[in-house]
Symmetry: C2
Subunit: 340 residues, 2 copies
């Protein structure tokens, strides 16, 4: 190899290196952020109030998988937020108690990385995971369990009482609020770092050339105007009046009082079809094009949509290992399943 060839390869390599450095800069400038690789930095983000402990997470995991928190005793948090299916149920509108679909035709959002959302629920009415967990448990078309029933069920099982005392101290009041908050604490740990994070954290080989190109197109098209931050979503954004857009023509959901809607995370997006608040679109490419049209006012070409989808696939993250929990044994004091 002559010196000229060597120099030109070296120049090419430097250019690529520069390009990749500048893609990371470009992504960060556009508001994209990685899940921190550093454990202390991550804990600071997911546990700002220092509520996480091993005992609370283990108990929260049991409660997350606990069907006796529903009126019928056969629906758990995991029924609609299935941790084996990207944290969702994979159906357009959640189906709960009495086989009732969500009356507003709302799609179950993933619990993975939900800790990074500014707000919870599609209309952002809940500030935290701990608060959010109170909703579906009581909602009639979901778990349909009144607070008092939830409290009676859990307090009727000595194994649960012991676990709560172990997690919070002997004086703990095992009420609806502590039960749901413990589920929220478990959910804080459901974080799924991906190759995208490795890339933003400096590993330039973590994404391949096509994924890098897709990331660049994703930014250039303006997707990051809503899909930003660590979650690539999770903030409230203006969502034009329903009826005007094809994907909104299902259900009666209109967002919060300002018509704003929570932007769904794009992490693990290939696992969480169907898409949008109403689960109206199954194809990720179609969803990308629909968003271009309705939210950005542009036509995203076939080629560019494919490139963006290629990038989105790199957002599939590594799930935490979840040992399926053994649940406490019911006692004669445990309120019976109620199918009414």
């Amino acid at each position: 190899m002559n010196i000229f060839k060597l120099a030109s390869i070296s120049l090419l390599a430097s250019t690529l290196l520069l390009a990749e450095n500048s893609l990371i800069d470009k992504a960060k400038t556009a508001g994209l952020q990685p899940i921190p690789a550093d454990k202390a930095a991550l804990m600071k983000l997911i546990d700002p109030n220092h509520t996480i402990s091993e005992a609370k997470v283990a108990l929260g995991k049991q409660l997350f998988f606990e069907p006796r928190l529903s009126k019928s005793s056969i629906i758990s948090c995991n029924t609609c937020h299935n941790l084996g299916l990207g944290g969702v149920d994979g159906v357009p509108a959640a189906v709960g108690h009495h086989w009732t679909a969500n009356p507003h035709h709302l799609n179950s959002p993933t619990v993975y990385n939900a800790v990074f959302f500014d707000k919870q629920f599609w209309d952002g009415r809940s500030p935290t995971l701990e608060d959010q967990a109170q909703g579906p448990m009581q909602a009639n078309p979901e778990m349909a369990a009144p607070k008092a029933l939830v409290e009676k069920r859990i307090n009727s099982m000595p194994e649960y009482v012991k676990s709560f005392q172990n997690a919070y101290g002997k004086e703990v009041k095992i009420n609806f609020e502590t039960i749901t908050a413990t589920i929220g604490i478990f959910e804080r740990t459901l974080v799924t770092p991906s190759r995208f994070d490795s890339f933003l954290n400096g590993d330039k080989e973590a994404l391949n050339a096509a994924e890098k190109e897709g990331l660049s197109v994703f930014i250039d098209k303006g997707c990051t105007s809503c899909h930003k931050g660590i979650a690539l979503g999770g903030t409230m954004q203006t969502f034009p009046a329903v009826g005007k857009y094809s994907y909104a023509n299902v259900g009666d959901f209109k967002g919060d009082k300002n018509g704003k809607v929570k932007v769904p995370t794009l992490r693990n997006i290939v696992q969480t079809a169907p898409y949008f608040h109403n689960g109206a679109i199954w194809s990720l490419k179609e969803a990308v094009q629909e968003m271009g049209k309705t939210q950005l006012g542009i036509k995203i070409s076939e080629a560019d949509s494919d490139k963006i989808v290629t990038f989105l696939k790199a957002l599939t993250g590594k799930k935490p290992e979840i040992g399926y929990p053994q649940l406490p044994t019911s006692t004669e004091r445990t309120p019976k399943p109620d199918f009414k």
Copy 2:
């Protein structure tokens, strides 16, 4: 301590030892058998045809937790045979597709230790776990999935196809039979050794005095005439015509063509309320007394029922550790959830 006292303690110890040896003999003579402590002996029992492999068990576990095997895509084997709840749903009659209760009012039997049953289903119509798994998946009030739908769903996901090829070889035909058989293979591993097994296997301290007394009463009252073998159940036994007994006054189930009914296992029995084929009785003590009355024609006193229940609690076994499986991602070819 004088020599006389020492001698009398030694005599007492020998008597107890004799008593315990003879209780083990008595139990074995009555037809009770332990889960073998020896792994090779256990494998011979649970895997007579050498179908178990690590790859098949891992795949079978995914399929056991796979809601897309149901028509709706929200009901899995684990919905009614919850591995965190003793392998059952804890409701009187199984509730499935369209929130439909089992039309014969049949209670979901546990999958734990079902490998030790002679027959599967309450009417014993199935000879193996592999065969049994075909039933609930297709049954309308359960998972309601036609064979062709199940096959299309699984074959639409490359990750599943790869796992089947990995487990069975490149030429595998991924059809309804192989899918359900793989679930059966996973279920063969759901064995829960208990302190009772340690006792029968020779560890005389594994049961305490009250449990030993309970075991003795259990045998003396004749419970082992049906609840015998490794499963303490699992054989077909005469079951007098329904209507005559209070616990049978629910549903229209009449057993097999000879009126015989599969005896449920007593392993993990405190975790599997409500009891009987129709889930009509919630209290274990009441169930013991009812069985005395209707099956043995005797009145089992309060004290003796308590003793038997004390023994039954020692049948709660150690569950295998189950990592909650990550399931393959649906593709655009995957048939959509169907709630009709």
